[in-house]
């Protein structure tokens, strides 16, 4: 479980996150939604330690991440897998080397165990026979799947996904959503996903946190979201006229 308590973040005196308190459950896909510039990426960067929260605390299963020493954080980070918006695959490495990289740097497994793990991860994301390809030779969806394979290489307890569907067509988005959801349930990970894609919300949003202007505005599940009595959330959910008309007819 990841717990956020009274987190504030400022940039140049401007408040970007205001008193965020929420928790993300293990074995569930926890979505953070909000429009661009609402602060959801900043919150995720605070969670993974790329930004320091100016106030407040972040707990990973009762371990206080905010006050950990550098060394403790280093070990803590090995329990995290992160899927970045663009995949963030290392251009100079093949698919195999990309997935192997965290294993080489951070695990004590033997070479054959590492190879087996790479094969397993690639198989898990339905990408066989791509070992020797470079990221530039992959499609957008394949890149995301390789990035997921790399994120799960060390068998993390916590998986963070920043806009996993950005730049993907609806069908591929669905494949990625389902894959993340399957992995989450299979390994009982605490998965936190940043998104503004309502298709993802409806498909895999077991818990949903809506952030608006740096504040946590609403929390619930995808089952409650369409009936929520919250103006800002409704404006976000029904921003698309087509969706609005479709849901009104239903």
């Amino acid at each position: 479980m990841v717990k956020v308590e009274n987190v504030y973040k400022f940039f140049d005196g401007k408040e970007v996150l205001h008193d965020i308190t929420c928790q993300f459950e293990p074995g569930k896909t926890n979505l953070i939604i909000g429009q661009s510039g609402s602060g959801k990426t900043v919150l995720m960067k605070c969670l993974i330690g790329l930004y320091e929260a100016d106030q407040g605390t972040i707990f990973y299963d009762k371990r206080d991440f905010s006050n950990m020493s550098k060394k403790e954080r280093k070990y803590m980070r090995q329990e995290m897998g992160v899927l970045f918006q663009g995949g963030a695959l290392f251009d100079s490495m093949t698919v195999k080397e990309n997935i192997m990289f965290p294993l080489i740097m951070l695990s004590n497994e033997t070479a054959s165990e590492k190879n087996d793990r790479v094969d397993f991860c690639l198989e898990r994301v339905n990408l066989k026979d791509t070992h020797e390809l470079y990221p530039s030779q992959l499609s957008g969806g394949m890149k995301k799947r390789v990035a997921i394979a790399r994120a799960i290489a060390l068998n993390p307890k916590y998986l963070f996904c920043d806009e996993p569907n950005s730049g993907l067509d609806p069908k591929t988005s669905l494949v990625i959503d389902e894959l993340i959801s399957e992995i989450t349930h299979e390994y009982q990970m605490t998965t936190i996903i940043n998104t503004h894609d309502m298709n993802s919300v409806m498909a895999i949003g077991e818990t949903v946190s809506f952030i608006f202007e740096g504040k946590l505005w609403w929390q619930g599940s995808n089952k409650d979201i369409l009936n929520a009595d919250n103006e800002e959330l409704n404006n976000f959910v029904y921003a698309n006229k087509f969706v609005h008309q479709f849901l009104s007819k239903k």
């Binding site: 790329l50 930004y51 070990y75 803590m76 980070r77 992160v82 970045f84 963030a88």
Partner: protein, 268 residues
Amino acid sequence: MNIFSIVNNGEKTEKAVHLNIVERILHDIGDYLLLMKRFFSKPENGPYFRKQLVDEINGLCIDSLLIVSIISIFMGAVITIQTNLQIENPLLPTWTIGFVVRQSIVLEFAPTIISVFLAGKIGSRIASEIGTMKVTEQVDALETMGINSASHLILPKIVACTFINPLLIIIGIFLGLLGGWGACEFLGTIPSSQYIEGIRSWFLARDIYYAIFKTLTFAFVIASVSGYWGYITKGGALEVGKTSTKAVVNSSFMILLLDLLLTELFLG
């Protein structure tokens, strides 16, 4: 409004401040020193570091061998012809030209001019490589894995450059002198026997040590300054281009400044 990034322990914050040119320079130096503290740390994985080192030696330095050789040969020949044209004094023996050419090549041309050239070739490569990794979140990916990204990306480049650039410069000295001999032998600038006598006259090993010391200093500057500019890149492709240019300009300027200081310190 100038936007600077502060690099400290993996935390990247932005400070939008109004600074004058002196404050900007001091700010950049401060950032550079903070980053230096981060990249001088023990590599995460020894065998992987050695692999990176071999790749960097190959990519950054060995790839420069051909162009350094060509420049050295031609510059050696041109310096010989120019020196011969400038020293037309019947009181000076002809072999003086060989001596002047050797001193020019060993003391200045090979260590300084080739280093300035390498600042362009290697520096832009380092800055654009790291800058692209930065804007495509590859550096963030390293940080989230618990890896010191500054050390992982910049340290192998610094070690590779300080290890191999002196070798490149020694090759440059040899080929420069060979180029001068070629000008004498094939263009008839001066008799080649006189040239050889000149390059053998009053030879001091200290000059070679001085050239190597300068090269080591310049190699460190090229890799670390370019690494710094690459590491603080923010934005997209346009910013990667801008920081690459800044890396080349700043490392070239630093090389020339240090050349002046070292020459005054050791030979002045």
